[in-house]
């Protein structure tokens, strides 16, 4: 039995302009051209996207979960980055 040695690609969709691309899943394809087409057929059957990115899975470098604390904890105490840090009277609207 022969095998499919088509590469694995990660698929990202932009659902509409103004939003960023979001990871939706993966698929197999021999080249980027077919990966884009396959992504269109597989992941936008219900008009979920207007722009597609495909990235070879092997090209993605992920942070290691063991470094999670070092990478993400420092911002946990920077509460001033979050809007709820600031006391604004309720009378002031649209803020």
């Amino acid at each position: 039995m022969s095998t499919t040695n088509w590469k694995l690609w990660e698929v990202f969709l932009r659902s509409k302009n103004g939003l960023s691309h979001k990871h939706v899943g993966s698929l197999h394809a021999p080249d980027s051209n077919m990966a884009i087409k396959n992504a269109r057929d597989v992941y936008t059957r219900r008009s979920e996207g207007i722009s597609i990115w495909v990235v070879p899975s092997e090209s993605i470098t992920a942070s290691s979960p063991d470094e999670k604390d070092a990478l993400f904890t420092p911002s946990d105490d920077k509460v001033y980055r979050h809007p709820t840090f600031y006391d604004i009277p309720d009378d002031v609207q649209h803020m």
């Binding site: 499919t4 088509w6 698929l27 197999h28 077919m34 087409k37 396959n38 057929d41 597989v42 059957r45």
Partner: protein, 263 residues
């Protein structure tokens, strides 16, 4: 069009008949292709392509429905899209013989799609300005789908032609064996005497079609068969190959077993 083979077929059309005839050509082509492609479902070479080919099948059958619905309006009475699809015999079908050729292997199916998708692309592009508003509307919607299909099938021709030695050989065989069914797409037809110029004359697409087909075949490192080779004819007059009988037997069996039923 001369010759004994087509003796006795209808040659004179009223303008109303001519209009219906034109719709039947397009509708039956779409249904036949959609029906054939749909039987790839669960049999594709890879899951992603199963999904892709079902998409194109959905597009073709969807287009067939729109056209049959228009025809049902023209026919009036009890006629519906389904009576047209399910209760006509082979003599009533007007699809080109190319579309009833069997699926064969993936390369055969791709070659058949490539020849017709390219034709459809130029045809529907022009039909967007047809004087018949319904047809222009269908063309407007269909063109986007057809553009995608034409690109998909052309890319596969190139991929298989310029792939392995085996795929190159297979793709060449597929093109060669389907070639004799391609000429019929461009035939002149007596119905055109009754239709205005915005009903695209099929023969007017031949040049541009040959050019595009030649380009793709060249990129696929394949050899284009001569356009002067013998071409088969008959489908547009209801004179079909044996294949159509089997397609209809399968497609129509349930509907005809229960003619009174609605589904």
């Amino acid at each position: 069009m001369a010759g004994g083979w087509l003796n006795g077929v209808k040659r004179d059309f009223t303008s109303e008949e001519a209009l219906k005839e034109y719709f039947f050509f397009l509708a039956d082509d779409a249904l036949m292709l959609g029906q054939q492609l749909s039987s790839w479902c669960s049999k594709g070479p890879v899951l992603e392509q199963d999904i892709a080919i079902i998409n194109t099948s959905l597009d073709h059958i969807g287009r067939a429905r729109l056209l049959y619905q228009e025809l049902a309006k023209m026919e009036g009475g009890e006629v519906t899209e389904d009576t047209l699809a399910y209760f006509r015999d082979h003599l009533g079908f007007r699809n080109a013989l190319l579309l009833e050729q069997p699926n064969g292997h993936w390369g055969d199916t791709i070659a058949r799609s490539f020849l017709i998708d390219t034709f459809n692309f130029y045809l529907f592009d022009k039909l967007r300005s047809c004087s018949n508003k319904a047809l222009a509307g269908v063309a407007e919607k269909a063109l986007k789908e057809i553009a995608y299909q034409a690109q998909w099938s052309a890319e596969w021709v190139i991929r298989l032609g310029d792939g392995t030695e085996e795929s190159h050989h297979k793709m060449q065989q597929s093109i060669n064996s389907l070639w004799m069914w391609s000429g019929e797409l461009f035939e002149a037809h007596p119905m055109f005497d009754q239709l205005d110029d915005s009903f695209v004359r099929f023969e007017s697409l031949r040049e541009v079609w040959l050019h595009k087909i030649g380009e793709v075949i060249k990129e696929a490192t394949l050899i284009m068969p001569s356009p002067e080779l013998w071409m088969q004819t008959g489908g547009r007059y209801g004179v079909h190959t044996s294949e159509l009988g089997f397609i209809l037997a399968e497609m129509q069996s349930l509907a005809r077993t229960h003619p009174e039923a609605t589904w």
